[in-house]
């Protein structure tokens, strides 16, 4: 059987147009209610993050403590198991990290679009602000939160921290401690 070249070309053109049209369409997320935030602070560098946070810790996200909805806005409190308290006064091996987002009465999950909910078990480097004893929120939303894996630190895709964050966890810790002591830049 001979395949007509015109037919091959036509099929290719249609395929390309369909693929590019699909790529430019936002994927549906029916179980999620999107929230969009304006973040009060911009912390483009480690120095700015150190300066504008009460604590910097490395650890693991634990279980969800509880969820609430206040005036239509969902919140989730997570246990966070601290392995290394790099900056600030330690307030315990397990602290509470409070995040905007969580279950809503209509059955959907409210999530700030550029600040996905924490996932129990994930290892993180967090810059935190304390709003009550032992209770913290992440400074600058996605910017104050970095994933830590095998000794490497990676910024969130939505982070505005663009000022050469150290990729190595030990180097990151040294930088923070140096800034704290006044000898780092």
């Amino acid at each position: 059987m001979r395949i007509r070249p015109e037919l091959v070309a036509l099929t290719g053109v249609v395929s390309v147009l369909l693929l590019t049209s699909c790529a430019s369409t936002t994927s549906a997320t029916p179980a999620t209610t999107n929230l969009h935030a304006s973040w009060a602070g911009a912390y483009p560098s480690v120095r700015e993050m150190v300066k504008n946070s009460d604590a910097m810790v490395i650890g693991t996200v634990g279980e969800v403590e509880h969820t609430t909805v206040d005036q239509g806005i969902p919140y989730t409190d997570y246990d966070f198991e601290v392995k290394n308290w790099v900056k600030g006064t330690p307030s315990g091996d397990t602290i509470t990290v409070h995040q905007t987002g969580g279950p809503l009465p209509d059955g959907t999950i409210g999530v700030i679009e550029d600040d996905p909910l924490l996932v129990p078990g994930e290892h993180l480097v967090l810059f935190l602000n304390e709003y009550a004893p032992g209770k913290y929120f992440i400074a600058g939303g996605p910017t104050g939160r970095m994933q830590e894996e095998d000794g490497q630190v990676g910024a969130m895709p939505e982070s505005i921290a663009t000022d050469g964050l150290p990729a190595d966890t030990d180097a990151f810790v040294k930088r923070v401690k140096a800034i704290e002591s006044g000898s780092g830049k």
Partner: protein
Amino acid sequence: MKFHHDVAGPSESRRLLVPLLAFLAALFIALSAAAPAQAYNFTGAKWTTVNPLRTRLSITYGGTNSANAWINASSDWTATSAPVSITRPTTGGTPPVTLSDQKNSSVSWDGLSNWYPGSGTTTNATGWLNVYYTAGYSASTRKGVAGHELGHIMGLAHNSGCVLMVSTTSTRNSCAVYIPKADDIAGIDALY
């Protein structure tokens, strides 16, 4: 058993060349269309129209500071060349957009918004100012936060640079951006 193979000769090659060039031209056009030059981003949700966009105030914590921020930000959007008119009607039923405030010291956002449904045609929405932060802001900065949230409610997502839809208030302040800029307006123009 005899096998017969069709082998393309020179004339057959020329026949293949024309559709191949047509395919490559279509690919170029499609990829160009898929990579827009503009910087604005969309949330994936929009109203049938924002001319008018009917809103109501529900202020609990910030008094006239919060109210004026929403009112003035609405006026700023309405004054642009985009097809937007943000109103606060007193008749015609409950407006679908609620402009509100909270006082919350346990978060790092100073403004927040959501809408239903999350994608497609929006039917209702709420915007909040966080008075914990905005109480200490200048009137211009507060208005910038309110205008940013109105941009989200209308369908604009975060963007970078000195535009109203940049994600952080400190960046808006350092750029002195408190009203919709050309790229923000172009985004609404493209949506509506």
